[in-house]
Symmetry: C2
Subunit: 128 residues, 2 copies
DNA sequence: CACCTGCTTCGACACCCGTCAACATAGACA
DNA sequence: TGTCTATGTTGACGGGTGTCGAAGCAGGTG
């Protein structure tokens, strides 16, 4: 069944502290473990269909969207469901059923974590 | 450790020379074309070995590293070469042969573009 | 209650991808 | 020149992945 234990990279006990997933890419060579964790996220976004779905949810009003509203990405609906499941398993989305429709919502902390992973000290090189 | 402000990553070029990849993920639903472009990058980083190689190059002193210095990632050397080629094809790395050794170097603009792609205005959802 | 709609799961297919051993190439050095 | 080291390329294998049609659930509506 659908359990989907997600969030491989977030410690849910500290909602305020953003995912201590990994250091910035440019700071230190990743260890095997860090690479495995981070690659899982990148891999989830490494498909055009998933990227469109994720972007559609992330940019949707209120930060959430029902499947019926984002499933126009050029593939069949089972495939859409499959990709949404993948995104959920990667910890990037969460789903909730409300009545007839299922709503997906982005996990903001993960987005922040990935952003920090890439925005290394480059743009903020102000630390002597 | 040290130092390093060595990251000549961004300071040397105009901010406008950055790859015109895509808008932030949370700004607008990606078009098929944008998704294809961005997914290519994410996919390139969606492998643990490639992520370690990329991180090793990006964090190496001077922003570049020779293969002999980063090929300790647990796979055979042909595989390392294969992954480096993939990263090069994705536009994330550039290579240059100097004498006996081949040096790889990160493409700073791409890193910046990916960072901006994720560092959306996360003040987005959840405002009601 | 029956039916209908929205979404997920199942089974199957083709294709892509990561991996390695073996071979090929480029430059250095004697 | 020949040989040795450092990388890249080729070919092949096994497993993973995206895709679809059909079937299965869940919930609303008549």
């Amino acid at each position: 069944m659908s359990n989907t234990q997600a969030l491989p990279l977030l410690e849910s006990d500290a909602p305020e502290a953003v995912a201590p997933c990994c250091p910035p890419l440019t700071e230190r060579p990743f260890t095997a473990e860090e690479a495995e964790t981070a690659a899982r996220m990148f891999k989830a976004l490494g498909d055009p269909v998933r990227l469109r779905l994720f972007s559609a949810v992330a940019s949707h009003e209120g930060g959430e969207a029902c499947v019926c509203d984002i499933s126009d990405v050029g593939v069949s609906q089972p495939t859409v469901s499959h990709h949404l499941k993948k995104l959920k398993e990667a910890g990037l989305l969460t789903s909730e059923r409300r009545g007839t429709w299922v709503y997906y919502r982005v996990e903001p902390s993960v987005l922040t974590a990935m952003g920090k992973l890439l925005t290394s000290g480059m743009s903020v090189a102000g630390s002597p």
